[in-house]
């Protein structure tokens, strides 16, 4: 793979089998052999081609169900394509859902260690970042309280602070910044601009066109599992707004 591109999505197809009544046991599986009509195939992505350069900040936009989140999950390797290939280069962190893997009974500090280790950091690396993470989260004295006592805003702030400080080369972010007050949101955008200037590659999924215009150089419009438009943010967003009005 050439060094120029950080993410290459090459002719990717993804189909989900939607079981209306799922067979989990052997008995059900045997019975289902005779009545196969309960399965529905849903084609979510149909031949996606996308190349993201190093340092690019790309937004994936589109209506609900257009395949944005699926594409993001494919890039993280949580799910795999039916056809086609996805290659990524460098350390990749994804924020599909904030605080996945938080343990409610442990303190915020302990959860930082646990969460960061899921992202593949070693103890030493976490130690080094610990102060930054706590400072960014603005949790102050609450950091040693169990996470179950946190408000949803505090929860989100902690989770975001961990993820943003992981030092990944590629950051994939699903619609998550809707929580948190304006002050914290602005701080996050500031941090992302900072990461962008450091040459990190980012892919966003969002419905907030304002965010897209503020942060991204490039927008990709997904519609029914295909790329409808791909280009400079302003052009794509304007066209998208016109269409969906």
């Amino acid at each position: 793979m050439s060094k120029e591109y950080k993410i290459i999505v090459d002719d990717v197809y993804k189909t989900f089998n939607v079981y209306l009544d799922k067979a989990n046991t052997i008995k059900e599986k045997l019975l289902f052999l005779f009545s196969r009509n309960k399965k529905e195939k849903r084609e979510v992505l149909k031949g996606i081609n996308l190349k993201v350069k190093k340092g690019e900040v790309v937004a994936l936009i589109g209506t609900n169900g257009s395949g944005k989140s699926t594409l993001l999950k494919l890039m993280t390797k949580i799910i795999y394509p039916n056809k086609g290939k996805i290659t990524t280069e460098g350390k990749l962190t994804s924020l599909l859902e904030l605080g996945a893997g938080f343990h409610p009974d442990f303190s915020g500090r302990e959860n930082i260690y646990f969460n960061a280790s899921i992202f593949g950091l070693t103890k030493k690396e976490i130690d080094k970042r610990l102060d930054d993470i706590i400072e960014f989260s603005e949790l102050g004295p609450y950091i040693d309280n169990p996470v179950r006592t946190y408000s949803s805003g505090m929860y989100m702030r902690l989770a975001f602070s961990v993820a943003i400080n992981v030092d990944a080369d590629i950051l994939l972010i699903d619609e998550i910044l809707s929580v948190g007050d304006e002050h914290f949101q602005n701080k996050c955008y500031e941090k992302m601009r900072d990461l962008k200037s450091q040459g990190k590659t980012m892919v966003f999924v969002t419905h907030s066109m304002q965010t897209v215009k503020q942060l991204c150089d490039r927008a990709v419009w997904l519609c029914d599992g295909t790329i409808k438009m791909d280009g400079p943010t302003e052009e794509v967003v304007d066209e998208y707004i016109k269409e969906t009005k």
Binding site: F16, N17, N24, T25, I26, K27, K29, K73, T76, K77, I78, I79, Y80, L92, S94, L96, E97, A100, G101, H103, Y113, F114, A116, S117, I118, F119, G120, L121, T122, K123, I126
Partner: protein, 258 residues
């Protein structure tokens, strides 16, 4: 293949915290806490000693020690396997949202059970010391036997944990299979009391060699069968490769199946 190890090495902190969590979480909400890891096997040994020695009149000398040397390694074996069958479903929520090498989960189950076993070895040692047998020099082979058992368990748990995502029945089947295997392994009886026409079952069972090795070390205090153990290690290593290939194939669908 080198990539597999590199990936695991990169995520070593996750493996470590996971193992710690498994060990810590196990007795977290119980009144007697860690004491259970000693009490549980002791009570089990008591039950078997009552049934097989006092009621069924098993002629084996020092029967409690005899049982102890077999039962404690067996507990390591059986709980590692039965817990592997649940680990993916239990962690389904994280598996659907974050990427990390999925093999971390079964490996940390086996590792945490191995640590538990290391602690439980104190019981075996207490039994042989206070039972008057003393400790033999053959104890130097303990790491080799542990290694053989560890590798065997890694191979099995990779297969069990990944298949159980697709076939949930496996969780129940494994309970029965383990019970069957318990009696097909010389734990409550000694291998030479089994009629010649059933000996092949014991010969095919890898756990026979492991239990016998622990027993040679602690109970009869004779030389362990090193060639047999080396063969077992070789077979387990092949098993690990096959297990990993199966696991790797199946793990691609985990997030969709859970």
């Amino acid at each position: 293949m080198i990539n597999v190890f590199k990936n695991l090495y990169n995520y070593r902190e996750l493996l470590k915290t996971n193992v710690k969590k498994e060990i810590r979480g196990k007795y977290k909400n119980s009144f007697l806490g860690v004491l259970w890891s000693f009490l549980n096997p002791l009570l089990q040994i008591l039950v078997y000693a009552i049934v097989f020695q006092m009621i069924l009149k098993n002629p084996q000398e020092d029967y409690a020690i005899f049982i102890c040397c077999g039962l404690i390694p067996w507990t390591f074996f059986s709980s590692a396997i039965s817990r592997s069958a649940f680990t993916m479903v239990e962690n389904g929520n994280i598996l659907k949202k974050v990427y990390f090498p999925r093999e971390i989960l079964p490996i940390s189950i086996v590792t945490s059970e191995a640590v538990n076993f290391l602690i439980s070895t104190i019981i075996i040692i207490a039994f042989v010391v206070f039972g008057g047998l003393g400790i033999s020099k053959y104890i130097v082979f303990y790491p080799l036997v542990l290694l053989a058992q560890y590798l065997l368990l890694i191979a099995i748990s990779l297969i069990v944990s990944s298949i159980s995502v697709y076939v949930r029945d496996l969780q129940h089947l494994i309970g029965v299979a383990l019970q069957l295997l318990f009696y097909a392994t010389p734990i409550v009886y000694s291998a030479d009391t089994i009629p010649a026409n059933f000996q092949w079952i014991l010969k095919l069972n890898p756990m026979t060699y492991i239990i016998e090795a622990y027993r040679d070390m602690f109970y009869t205090q004779t030389m362990v069968d090193v060639p047999a153990l080396l063969i077992l290690i070789a077979i387990s290593l092949i098993g690990c490769v096959i297990g990993y290939l199966i696991f790797n194939k199946l793990q691609k669908g985990f997030a969709e199946q859970l």
